[in-house]
């Protein structure tokens, strides 16, 4: 009687419906971005018209450039800090203020973005900091380093610690053991963490709205203000470009993690 654990028709149906629900709206959006008609919903044949429109829209291009710069900068800082935090939490055993530390790292994961954004803006105003690229970058770093920490920590947790111990028994000091043994092993998680931070930053609207200044809007802020005014076919094209960019990032990262894992396998017999 192995009836229960087998995949039932109900399982298959719920999976298929679930995935269709997740993907159909995005697919429809991508298809309509190639629509020649000005009316979003009337199909007027295939065309790249709205992509041209986007590349002629200076304000949109500037916002996209700002978003990209912020995403690269904040993802890089966040990966650095998040990895350090993960190492401290999974290898540091007990240290003073550990509970507060892990609490601060987990809180932004669930905290409503409105609150995070509001509090950071009040800080920047109190410090009289000029709002723009750096304030958004700092805000995004704060949010995304928590995600990086979670990703890297879970990888560190599943790692065989005897490898680190062996390196130290063979005379490595802890830092050396970490750099030459642990770091290569957790590299895929670090890459995944960077990607996650990059896309989260690229995606964020609420926190960026609170922490940016006049004249330095990010792409989501611009898209949002356009969408509020009504649906424009140009937005379909921009959204499709963003989806394409994220898809490229995901493919590169999965290739990187595949490469590093196959390296690990070929290195093992030696």
């Amino acid at each position: 009687m192995r009836k229960v654990s087998r995949l039932s028709r109900f399982n298959v149906a719920s999976l298929a419906l679930g995935l269709a629900f997740l993907y159909l709206p995005i697919l429809i959006l991508v298809i309509y971005s190639f629509n020649a008609s000005r009316l979003v919903t009337v199909w007027g044949g295939w065309s790249l018209r709205w992509y041209r429109e986007f590349f002629n829209d200076r304000a949109m291009i500037e916002a996209a450039w700002m978003s990209l710069r912020v995403a690269v900068a904040s993802a890089t800082i966040a990966t650095l800090l998040g990895t350090l935090a993960a190492v401290a939490l999974s290898r540091g055993e007990r240290f003073r203020g550990r509970t507060l530390f892990s609490g601060m790292l987990y809180a932004p994961l669930v905290m409503p973005e409105v609150i995070t954004g509001l509090s950071l803006l009040l800080l920047f105003v109190a410090l009289n900091a000029e709002r723009g690229f750096w304030t958004v970058t700092i805000a995004h770093t704060t949010l995304t380093m928590c995600f990086v920490a979670v990703v890297v920590q879970s990888r560190l947790g599943s790692l065989d610690r005897s490898l680190e111990e062996a390196a130290m028994d063979l005379g490595c000091n802890p830092v050396r053991a970490f750099v030459s043994v642990t770091l290569p092993l957790i590299a895929p998680a670090i890459v995944a963490g960077w990607m996650l931070a990059f896309t989260l930053s690229l995606d964020d609207l609420v926190i960026a709205s609170f922490t940016t200044g006049p004249g330095s809007a990010t792409l989501p802020i611009r898209i949002y203000s356009e969408v509020r005014l009504g649906v424009k076919p140009e937005i379909n094209a921009i959204c499709t470009l963003v989806i394409g960019l994220i898809a490229v990032v995901i493919v590169i990262a999965s290739l990187a993690s595949k490469l590093s894992s196959s390296q690990g396998e070929s290195a093992a017999p030696l």
């Binding site: 997740l22 401290a88 203020g97 896309t199 994220i246």
Partner: protein, 304 residues
């Protein structure tokens, strides 16, 4: 093991930079929110009084403290707009989380029953939409739900309706948007516990004669409760403070607290009241978090 200890010390040093960062940019900002929530509204830049000025010395600090007031909090309690906004936020979050659980559970269950190789594929497929911009996914639904959108066109073509139905700017549209955006957050923790579950337990129940629904209700579901708790929490808390989805998909007749806060801040420029509203929201959200932590602790103790 001794080498573990040796490793622990430099690892602790690794905490310094992220620790300082989080204190500076996460903890300290809340002190400012708290402080400004206790200030008076002013028509100035920044629009609140008293302004902290450390250079003015102790006397200034003392007079600043003397000027603190809890008027903003009193206002929140007495003004119907805020009370309604909190109630609506909680109602929406409870409803949406229940929907998410109902829709997400069968999907996660189906994933956990797949052959091992396919489980990884299914997981990637669930995560990818989460990587795809949140705003874009909401926008995708506007395309579908608007007056001359795809849904109405299909319904009209099939002669299921005789004239376009209003989908956009309704609570229904908002719930679709919320469920759509948060579904991966519900599926992943559920899948994680369901995949780890020992299939022998379910088999034993069915061998002992339990019909499938009893196997599910008496064995599978109780064992998946940690995942249910994590998923519910992961969805419920951010939904309470949700701003973008209700703003773009729901009608404008009744606002959630996230929207009210946003309006108060950007449109009315009443920073002290917005700060006070944020503090109250934070306190409201701490309750389920503490409850969850307590339940988890109890479960751990029972496990031993």
């Amino acid at each position: 093991m001794s080498s573990r200890r040796i490793f622990a010390r430099p690892a602790r040093f690794a905490a310094i930079a992220p620790y300082v960062w989080m204190v500076l940019f996460f903890l300290v900002p809340f002190a400012f929110v708290l402080k400004i929530s206790l200030s008076q509204t002013a028509i100035a830049q920044p629009p609140y009084e008293p302004v902290f000025d450390l250079t003015a010395g102790w006397e200034a600090l003392k007079s600043a403290f003397a000027a603190l007031s809890i008027d903003n909090f009193k206002l929140l309690g007495s003004d119907d707009i805020y009370v309604f906004a909190y109630v609506r936020s909680l109602t929406v979050a409870v409803t949406a989380t229940a929907l998410l659980l109902l829709i997400g559970y069968p999907i996660a269950y189906g994933m956990a029953r797949l052959p091992k190789r396919w489980q990884a594929v299914a997981m990637v497929l669930v995560i990818v939409p989460f990587w795809t911009s949140f705003l874009i996914r909401i926008y995708a639904w506007i395309n579908i739900l608007q007056h001359d959108g795809l849904l109405n066109q299909i319904l009209l073509a099939l002669h299921l309706v005789s004239q376009p139905v209003v989908w956009l700017s309704t609570d229904g549209a908002m719930y679709i948007g919320i469920v759509y955006s948060y579904l991966p957050f519900m599926i992943l923790p559920l899948y994680a516990t369901l995949a780890k579950m020992e299939p022998a337990l379910e088999e034993a129940a069915s061998d002992l004669g339990a019909p499938p629904w009893q196997v599910f209700w008496l064995v599978t579901f109780p064992l998946s409760l940690p995942g249910v708790g994590a998923g519910v929490l992961l969805c419920f808390i951010p939904i309470v403070g949700e701003f973008v989805i209700p703003d773009l998909l729901a009608g404008s007749n009744s606002l959630m607290i996230g929207q009210t806060l946003w309006l108060e801040f950007f449109t009315n420029k009443d920073w002290p009241v917005a700060s006070a509203a944020a503090i109250v929201l934070l306190v409201v959200l701490l309750l389920p978090l503490l409850l969850y932590e307590r339940l988890q602790k109890r479960q751990l103790e029972q496990g031993r």
